[in-house]
Symmetry: C2
Subunit: 338 residues, 2 copies
């Protein structure tokens, strides 16, 4: 049994009314010539998608083919809509969360959902977490690595993390609006390939240096794409912490200690990279994640984990148990519920 | 015998006249209370240094203590001065290159020098390369990972790389003005620790996606700090190249092929990271580098390489032969000259 922690959905329809003001930045679905379905944001095609984004029957067929028992569903990050008024985004997020809840409902044994919240206002986002848990019955929340340029570990987001910890909701961090798009040389699609790993590295570093893990020791937070470049940033942070008293004064424990508390998906496409992550972190911190159903996805999901020749116990951890612990904590009753 | 490819110098004095216009941005040495020596740029202390930055006798004592046969000298990156008029910077760079040549001259068997050039104007920089080789007799040139925000692999720099390849000068890329300083959470010194690895990753990716390696197959180019996060970006670039025809059309070979042509120092402070780099790249691409004499330095230089328990041949490659090949190419007569 494998849980794929990193899969995306887009509802077949997105709200076209209900916003207090018309704004072409709201994500829209557009049916294009040739039977294509485009997701439009601010009038631009951000991705051409297909029914695998919303058709749960087709997804289950793929899951059965690839040996995936459970997909954890999260919105395509272009839907976050952090740019808008927080109450408007809350309305939009509830629509998405309702759709995700419906997708989970299609086959609760095969799907688990993560919601989205208007994190541009952390108090509003914190309030929405209650409905994510109690109304939509999702296991956690997916957030951007930065919110309109503010990195996720910034103290600005304290009210959100406080409530996520209190409610026991998992927080899954996905890159968006990646750092350094102005430093990419070549076609703009490279921003996703070259920029995402660095973006995720900044995000993971920020929850350490912003003391999120220090303030919220029970928080379960996971990073996509194997943490991006974070696994190579961490040794330098450790060296700096050991050599610079000014850094040690800011941070009670060595960055390596905080690093042990993080979860990561194993979406690195390379056995060597995966083995390195297992060395730098541990077999209790990595989870299968595929980016299904997008083109960059690992196919079949979990292929590199399956190919690693891990001891049976470690394989079980990576394929299933870490994901359950990330999603539900150590609480065994929750585990039995799914 | 170990060659330390990554050590910095600052001359004891910097020019205070000779610029056509006064500008407080030019780097200055300031003797501060308590016997401290500060490097000032634009009126701000960028680093407090000591005589190890210019006193070759003291450096040799450290080298003897740590078993370093040769230090490769490069200017502290804050001296690059890419912001100014290129001719003014050329004047400043010649001053620095002259100082580096003098330091090498102090004991030519123990030091090799890399110069700096006004890369804000690639044609001017290309002209200066001739004097770096013939007049100052340096082995190569150190350049920033970006020049005023423009990443080093940008086609803008083509005239520079063309001439570096023609002259057979090694190009050593060092992070400066790191990407994402606005995404650091915590004290600004973290920009160096968290930002540098991502900055270097962007730079290394750019010489692939900007087709520098495609255009200049004989160019010898090395990246500091183990390439930063590049070792974890590369597998994602490979996956993208395989999945996206639009990327393949831009780049004739898979990014993994270009990755094999790069040199990296081994300044990653961690045996596990170093072993990973050896897997992703090869034992012919890594060189000892320490960041001597700065606080973040590996101490003793080359400690992690020495501790790796490598086969004798690989150890020789990392400690010496790769550095010689990076500095002088395959030309054996040059090797014998030092």
């Amino acid at each position: 049994m494998t849980i794929d922690i990193h899969t995306h959905i887009v509802p077949q329809k997105l709200p076209t009314t209900g916003f207090s003001s018309l704004n072409s930045r709201w994500p829209q679905i557009e049916l294009a010539p040739g039977g294509k379905t485009n997701v439009m944001v601010a009038g631009k095609v951000v991705r051409t998608i297909n029914e695998l984004c919303w058709n749960m029957e087709s997804r289950i067929a793929d899951m059965d083919r690839e040996g995936i028992e459970i997909q954890v569903l999260s919105a395509m990050p272009a839907l976050f809509s952090y740019w808008a008024d927080a109450d408007e985004t809350a309305f939009f997020c509830r629509y998405i969360n309702e759709e995700i809840a419906r997708m989970v409902e299609y086959h609760p044994g095969r799907f688990v959902g993560l919601g989205i919240v208007p994190l541009q206002n952390p108090e509003t986002a914190a309030r929405e977490l209650v409905s994510i848990k109690d109304h939509y019955r999702l296991a956690g929340v997916q957030v951007g690595s930065n919110i309109e340029g503010r990195t996720i570990g910034d103290p600005f987001f304290t009210p959100f993390f406080e409530e996520a910890e209190r409610l026991g909701l998992a927080v899954f961090v996905h890159p968006v609006n990646p750092v350094g798009s102005e430093r990419i040389v070549g076609p703009s699609l490279l921003s996703n390939f070259v920029g995402f790993p660095s973006e995720t590295a900044f995000a993971a570093a920020s929850v350490i240096t912003g003391r999120v893990l220090e303030k919220f020791p029970l928080l379960r937070i996971g990073f996509s794409h194997g943490g991006g470049g974070f696994g190579m940033v961490l040794p330098r942070m450790i060296q700096a912490w050991e050599q610079f008293p000014a850094f040690r004064e800011q941070l009670p424990q060595c960055p390596s200690e905080y690093g042990k508390k993080l979860f990561f998906d194993a979406l690195v496409y390379d056995q060597r990279t995966l083995r390195y992550l297992l060395e730098i972190f541990s077999s209790r911190q990595l989870m299968v994640g595929s980016d299904y159903p997008f083109k960059i996805r690992e196919k079949p999901a979990g292929a590199s984990v399956a190919s690693l020749n891990l001891p049976a116990e470690d394989k079980r951890l990576l394929q299933k148990e870490n994901a359950l612990r990330f999603l539900y904590g150590e609480n065994i009753r929750n585990l039995e519920a799914i």
